[in-house]
Amino acid sequence: MKLKFLLPLIMASAITHPASAEEYVIDTDKAHAFIQFRVQHLGYSWLYGRFNTFSGDFSYDEAKPEQARVRVTIDAASIDSNHAERDKHLRSPDFFDVKQFPQASFESTGYKPLGKEKGRLEGKLTLRGVTKPVTLEVSQVGAGNDPWGGYRRGFHGTTTITMADFGIPTNLGPASEKVELTLSIEGIRK
């Protein structure tokens, strides 16, 4: 009886969401996703940091990878470089001005598969209220069943941005104008 009731719904959902276009929610709940950045310090070393709070989802179809799509929303104030005074400065108008621009985001606009597990993800990155096109070099890390009854898929993407392009007014010196961003995410299939 239950099945009879559910069957039309299942069929309807199969039409609107073809089984091949898999939808994934990024596993921020259990922190299997990371938005990291690194920037050179004076040109002598790398400084690493991350955004602790974000959420997002993606879709990926192994048969049609070019239709892959990613969307991530980031709480700019959650920036964490493992130093409270520096983080306070990074949140100030000198850098991210998180009171004025509390949210950063990335939304893909297109994906170009390059071989089986690699690709180039085009998208729009919004930071400090400025939206700019960026390209992430993406590789799939893996996909498959997890031990708890779910299905997961993970990607690793990197891009380099210039801080001044996004209106960050502070100049940290010639070696530190660019920031490498890494989006390392695992999604749980919905």
Binding site: A84, K88, N171
Partner: protein, 181 residues
């Protein structure tokens, strides 16, 4: 000048602590405003905050010692020329100045130790973090630090203005007493 306070004069130690505090508070306020505007490659970018933090901790210790000494040392009587309303206001301004002093220093400490790092005092010793890891602690403590410091400076200016009023208008010994004259 006598070391201890008496019924008609301030002792040398209290006078010294008072003026040391005055110079340090105004100095730290100016230093704080200036150093937060420095660019990354400025030679004072590290030195300024280190001086600010270290001096703040030393002032905290001096203020704690000053309060204890004040309890032990006593204080001179109010001058007969002080009006009843002046005595009430003066008392509350003095209490508020002490409270603000501590509040400013504690809020500053909570910025520097927000991630659990100890606060180094000129490399001589370090103050360990106590309250830390609260979400957004450094931001909240930072806003309070500036707000409270501005209030402290405003009240200190009122305090100084009152002293000048006693000196030039009432022509009494209030200010001269704090100068040990």
């Amino acid at each position: 000048m006598r070391w201890r306070s008496g019924s008609d004069h301030w002792g040398g130690l209290m006078i010294a602590l008072h003026w040391l505090t005055a110079v340090t508070v105004f100095g730290l306020f100016a230093l704080g405003l200036w150093m937060t505007g420095l660019t990354y490659y400025d030679g004072w970018y590290q030195k300024g905050p280190n001086l600010h933090r270290g001096s703040g901790v030393l002032l905290f210790i001096a203020t704690g010692a000053r309060l204890l000494w004040r309890l032990f040392d006593g204080r001179p009587r109010e001058l007969p020329s002080h009006q009843p309303w002046e005595r009430i206001i003066a008392k509350w301004v003095h209490i508020t100045l002490y409270l603000l002093l501590f509040a400013v220093m504690v809020s500053g400490y909570l910025i520097s130790t927000a991630d659990g790092r100890a606060l180094s005092v000129f490399g001589w010793f370090a103050l360990p973090a106590t309250l830390h890891g609260i979400d957004g602690q450094e931001d909240l403590a930072g806003e309070l630090h500036l707000l409270l410091a501005t209030a402290l400076i405003t009240l200190a200016l009122l305090h100084a203005g009152a002293a000048l009023k006693h000196h030039f208008i009432d022509r009494d010994r209030t200010l001269r007493r704090m100068l040990g004259l």
